[in-house]
C-alpha cells in the first residue's frame, strides 16, 4: 500500500517536473525562447512590423518567389474608373495584394471624396461587394463613388471643360477579415467627369 502511494506520488511529481525540466534543458542557452519562441520573433519581424499601410503611389512589393519575407500590406492600388452622369456615380477599379499566408476578406471599404484643388466635399465612396482574396493573390475591388448635386455644380463651376478631376480620398476605412483600419492617409486619384 505504501509502495503504491509512493509510486503514485512519484508519477505526479515526474509528470509535472519532467517536461518542464526537459524544456529548460533544451533551451538552457537562451531561456527567453521558453516564453517567446524564435518563430514568434520571425513572424513579428516579417508581418507585424511591416504592417504599415504604405503610400498608395508606391509600387507593390509582393516577392517574386511567393515567400512571405518583406510583406507589406498596402492600400488598394487605383487601376481605372468609369463615369455615369445619370446615376451621378464614378465606378473605380482598385487592385489589392494579399501578402499573407492566409486568405483575406475585404468586407468593406469607404472614404470621403474631396476635390483636391478646392478641398470641396464631393461625396463618398464605398465598396460595391465584399471580396475574398486568396493567399499571395491579387484581386480587383470595385468602389463606387456617388457624388452629390452640389458636387455636380462644383464640377460645372470650377472644372468646366475638364474631363478629369483630381480628388483626394480621405477618412479611408477598410474592414479586412473583421479588422477595421482607419488611416489618416490621403489617397490621391484622377477621376473622369465626362464620357
Amino acid at each position: 500500500m505504501q509502495v503504491l502511494g509512493l509510486v503514485l506520488i512519484l508519477l505526479n511529481v515526474g509528470a509535472i517536473v519532467g517536461p518542464i525540466a526537459g524544456v529548460v534543458v533544451v533551451y538552457h542557452n537562451n531561456l527567453e525562447e521558453i516564453v517567446v519562441p524564435p518563430e514568434v520573433k520571425q513572424i513579428v519581424g516579417e508581418t507585424i512590423e511591416t504592417l504599415t499601410l504604405s503610400s498608395p503611389n508606391d509600387s507593390g512589393n509582393l516577392p517574386d518567389d511567393g515567400s512571405s519575407s518583406n510583406v507589406n500590406l498596402q492600400l488598394p492600388q487605383y487601376v481605372s474608373a468609369s463615369f455615369d452622369p445619370v446615376a451621378r456615380t464614378v465606378t473605380a477599379l482598385f487592385s489589392f495584394i494579399n501578402p499573407f499566408n492566409v486568405s483575406l476578406a475585404i468586407n468593406s471599404l469607404s472614404s470621403d471624396v474631396r476635390c483636391h484643388a478646392h478641398d470641396f466635399l464631393l461625396g463618398n465612396s464605398a465598396l460595391s461587394n465584399s471580396v475574398e482574396i486568396a493567399s499571395m493573390q491579387t484581386a480587383d475591388l470595385t468602389v463606387v463613388f456617388t457624388y452629390s448635386e452640389a458636387a455636380q455644380q462644383h464640377f460645372q463651376s470650377e472644372h468646366a471643360g475638364e474631363t478629369v478631376v483630381n480628388v483626394d480620398l480621405t477618412n479611408i476605412a477598410v474592414n479586412i477579415s473583421g479588422i477595421t483600419l482607419e488611416t489618416p492617409e490621403t489617397y490621391n486619384v484622377d477621376i473622369p467627369i465626362s464620357l
Binding site: 526537459g22 499573407f100 499566408n101 492566409v102 483575406l104 473583421g178 479588422i179
Partner: protein, 202 residues
C-alpha cells in the same frame, strides 16, 4: 447480484483518456481575432496560436501541456484500474489519486482564463471576452501614428471543455459511488480483527 465494477469510474476514466485524444485536435477554448486572422487555441492538453496564417506554440506552455497529458493519461488509467477492482484494499488509494484530476484541470483552466483576461486588461487596456464577442479599439501606442484599428474579438468554450466537465462529474460520482460499493466488502475486513480482539484483563 451487485456488480463489483464501478461503472461511473469506467466512464470517467475512459472519458479522461478520450479527452486527451480529442484535445490535441480541438481546443477547450478559442479566441478569434477578426475572421480567425489571429486565433488562440487553448486547452491544458494542447495550446497553440495562429497569427496571420502562421501557427506556433510557446515551449513553456508546451511543457505544461505535456505535464497535463501525462497526468490525464495516468489519471485515466488509474481510474480504470480502480473501477474494475473497487473493493481491493488499495482501491481507495487509486481512486484518491485519479478522481480529482479532471476537476483540478477545469478549475485551474477556468481560473487561468480569468487571470489571463485580467492581465490583458491591465497591461493593454482592452478587455478580452471569455464567452461571446466584442469589438475593441487597439491602443494608439500599438499603431502607426494617426491610424485607428478596431478589431472584433470572439471567444467560446468548445465541446472538449464540456467533455472535461462530464469526465470530472463522472469521476466525482465514481468517488461517491465508491462508498456504496465498499460496504459489501467491509464486514469481512472489519470482522476479521474483531474476531481476534483480546480484551485485556482489567
Amino acid at each position: 447480484m451487485r456488480s463489483r465494477i464501478n461503472w461511473f469510474g469506467v466512464a470517467g476514466g475512459a472519458g479522461l483518456i478520450a479527452l486527451v485524444a480529442v484535445s490535441v485536435f480541438v481546443p477547450w477554448w478559442q479566441l478569434r481575432v477578426g475572421d480567425s486572422v489571429v486565433a488562440a487555441n487553448v486547452s491544458p492538453i494542447y495550446t497553440n496560436f495562429d497569427l496571420i496564417g502562421n501557427s506556433f506554440t510557446v515551449p513553456l506552455v508546451f511543457a505544461i501541456n505535456l505535464s497535463c497529458i501525462l497526468l490525464s493519461v495516468a489519471g485515466g488509467v488509474v481510474m480504470l484500474l480502480y473501477s474494475v477492482m473497487p473493493t481491493k484494499p488499495y482501491a481507495k488509494r487509486l481512486l484518491g489519486f485519479s478522481y480529482r484530476t479532471p476537476l483540478l484541470f477545469i478549475i485551474v483552466f477556468v481560473i487561468g482564463l480569468f487571470v489571463l483576461t485580467f492581465l490583458i486588461q491591465a497591461l493593454f487596456s482592452f478587455s478580452v471576452p471569455i464567452v461571446g464577442s466584442t469589438v475593441i479599439q487597439l491602443p494608439q501606442y500599438m499603431m502607426p501614428e494617426g491610424m485607428n484599428v478596431s478589431v472584433q474579438l470572439s471567444a467560446d468554450f468548445l465541446w472538449p471543455f464540456y467533455l472535461a466537465v462530464a469526465s470530472a462529474v463522472l469521476c466525482i460520482v465514481a468517488r461517491v459511488y465508491h462508498g456504496r460499493l465498499t460496504p459489501l466488502s467491509s464486514p469481512a475486513v472489519v470482522s476479521a480483527p474483531s474476531a481476534s480482539t483480546v480484551v485485556p484483563p482489567a
